[in-house]
Amino acid sequence: MIHVECAYYAMMRERSGCASESIQTEAKTPEELYEEVVSLHGFSPERAHVKVAINDSFATWETPLQEGDRVAFIPPVAGGCDHV
């Protein structure tokens, strides 16, 4: 059992009602953790369209989670400006 800090942005932040939360989890990887938070909050983006960052760097879904990690789920982005 570890504690991780989950960060949510955009529609995931609105859906969960929080920008981040501390979660106690059995999840070994972000992949397992995402399933957990999807059940918890009913996030709609499929994992295939989401990226994950651990401690402010992009990471793979299989990276082993460590106690105290900050895990951010990154839904599809719209950087820059509109269709330009």
Binding site: A72, A78, G79, C81, D82, V84
Partner: protein, 136 residues
């Protein structure tokens, strides 16, 4: 240099910071909020960013750009918060000795940035509706 800021973008200040006596070419890209998107009229937008992650990912894009093109410096500022039509949402400046690499690198930076930076945009329409762009 990368900034994610609620403050208006100041291209003059940014262009001045892109200065080097050996560099003759500055190519800049300004992305502005457009009045319509896919046929709907936009009244304003809200941008939200994951600040630290965005800064780290921009540093990766900057390193790749400096490796790939013969340029001196890459600067970027991206707005977050509420923007109105015509406001500059993103500014990129690439400084180089010669114009060819400056143009190519600036195009590369905006293309990568749009794919990779964790920044989201919510559009508010005249019909009262709103929505996160690109998001499932």
């Amino acid at each position: 240099m990368f900034e994610l800021s609620e403050l208006p973008i100041d291209p003059i200040r940014l262009a001045k910071e892109c200065r080097n006596d050996g560099a003759g070419a500055l190519v800049t890209f300004e992305g502005r909020v457009r009045i319509s998107n896919q046929g709907r009229t936009v009244i304003r937008l809200e941008y939200e960013g994951a600040s630290e992650l965005a800064a780290n990912e921009f540093a990766n894009i900057e390193d790749e750009t400096l490796d790939k093109y013969d340029v001196v410096a890459v600067t970027c500022q991206h707005r977050v918060g509420v923007l109105e039509i015509g406001d500059v949402a993103v500014w990129i400046g690439v400084l180089a000795a010669h114009r060819g690499p400056a143009f190519e690198a600036c195009r590369f930076v905006i293309d990568e940035l749009k794919e990779r930076l964790p920044i989201w945009k919510k559009e508010f329409y005249t019909d009262g509706d709103s929505g996160w762009i690109n998001s499932a």
